[in-house]
Structures are given as C-alpha cells and as structure tokens.
Amino acid sequence: MAKRTKKYDIFIVAAILLFAVIMIFLNLLIPQKGIIGVKVTIDGVLAVSISQDGLYPVEKDGKHLLTVEFYQGKARVKESTCDNQICVKTGWISNTNQTIVCLPYKIVVEPIGGKNTDGVDIITW
C-alpha cells in the first residue's frame, strides 16, 4: 500500500504553521493599536481615504474646510474652519464604533478596520 501521507507533508505543515506564528508575533510586536485607517466623507461622498500617518487637508470647491490627522491608529480633526468646532473638540478616535462628525460641513471621519474594544453598538448622547 502506497503511503498517502508522506514524510514531507509533516515538514510542510510544520513550516506553514511556523510561518503563520512568526507573522502573528511580528504583528503583535508592531503596535497595532486602534484603527487601521479612516475615510473622510463630505455629505456622503468619499473625500479621502487614509491609512498612512500624516496630516490630510480636506477641501471642497477649492475652499479649505478642515485637517484630519492620522497617527499610530488614532485619528482626529486637527483644525477646522467651521463655527462650532465640535469636530476638533471630539479629539482622538481609536475605536471602530466612533466617528467624528462636523455638522456645518457635513463631514464624517469614519474608521476602517480595527477592533471594537468596548463592544458598544451605539452611544446615546
């Protein structure tokens, strides 16, 4: 009877498992806190999608509206030209169920990826 499971198979399984475990460790070593990126929409239309650290100005029809900052898994509106400044006061968001909303400009900064760490579906305020 020919052996269906051959010696190499065990090596292959071991190698793949080792590979996956090393990758997971590497992932854990790199601080993967918070969210992976954010998308910024103006009245439902995607303005910019962010996944690299940095400052991102958001404009509409050539007028500067606000600046979104993304840094190490957190995002915030750094400054805004709107009246009530609620988006700026919201501060950093780092959880998938959070959003930053600028009502006057109809801008939403919404996380993509990442984990919902507090498990809450909705927030009443």
């Binding site: 499971t5 292959i12 793949i16 996956a20």
Partner: protein, 171 residues
C-alpha cells in the same frame, strides 16, 4: 480513464464545489473579514488534484466553482469575487502541478501548500484592489492558520475518499 468519464467526473466535482461554496459562506468565521471564507469548497479541487486529473482539470473546477458560486451567491464581479477567483485558480494550478511533478509530497502536503498559495494570492489581490495594504496584511497570518486547519481536514477527507475508491491499486 475514458475521456467522457473524466469529463463527467469533473463536472460532478464542479457542481459539488459550487454547492459547498455557497454553503460555507453561512458558516461564521472566528473573525469577521469581508470576502474571507473557510475554503471547504476546495475539496473537489483537491480531489481532482490527488486523483491526478491534471493541471487543467483542476483549474477548470476552480474557475467553475468561483464563477457559478459567485453567480449563486450574488457576489459576482465584486472585489471579494476576484479575490476568491484568482486565489483558487492559482492554488488549483499549483496543486495539480505538485501532484504531477513532485511525487515526494502527499495529500496533506498538496492540500496545505495549495491553501497557503490560495490565501497569499487572495491577500495580494485584496491589497491591490482595496489599496489598503496595512489592514489587509494584518489578517494574513490568521488567514494562513485557518487555511492550515481547513486544508488538513480536506486532506483527511480526501484520503478517506481515496481509500474507499481503492485508489491505492493504481498508485
């Protein structure tokens, strides 16, 4: 094997793969990732590979399953559809090739390597389409782990098939 018989077997395998493709999307994954699936529908592809139906037959089953399964589940032409399609065709070609040219690798080895390639290609395509490489690669090792488990199960099932079909006589 007679050509028509082989053809009919391939079509049966394709049909089963389609059904499994639809069903496996109902089985929840330990983590919610768009477009990621268990990969149970690769069983018929693996069977075709270990039965030595040839590289092309394997690829045909893989294409058929992704295309018809995509039609059935309504995911056709979406990003996840292209991810699955390219992944399963690449792994099908690779598995068929392994069986033909690398006799030292057994069923488990073929299945595991196929799953690894499948996941890798899917992730690469996802990175290309979504353009968000960081997010996508974060999940890659977990995908590989899931793939290893599934591939092992598939290999065991395939071996049971081979045994009941008394395939040893030929090998």
């Amino acid at each position: 094997m007679v050509k028509s018989k082989k053809l009919s077997n391939i079509s049966i395998l394709t049909g089963i793969a389609c059904a499994m493709y639809v069903v496996e999307s109902f089985i929840p994954l330990p983590m919610p990732l768009p477009g990621v699936r268990w990969g149970f529908s690769n069983l018929p592809v693996l069977l075709a590979a270990v039965l030595d139906y040839g590289v092309l037959s394997c690829a045909m089953i893989a294409f058929g399953k992704s295309f018809i399964g995509g039609l059935l589940s309504g995911r056709i032409a979406s990003a996840t559809f292209f991810m699955g399609l390219s992944g399963s065709i690449a792994s099908a070609l690779f598995m068929g090739w392994l069986k033909k040219h690398v006799p030292k690798v057994g069923t488990i080895g073929i299945s595991e390597l196929g799953a690894l390639l499948n996941n890798t290609v899917q992730i690469l395509i996802a990175g290309l389409i979504l353009g968000n490489s960081k997010a996508v690669f974060y999940y890659y090792p977990y995908l590989v782990l899931i793939g290893t488990v599934t591939a092992y199960l598939l290999a065991v099932v395939s071996n049971i098939f081979l045994r009941s079909m008394n395939h040893d006589a030929k090998v």
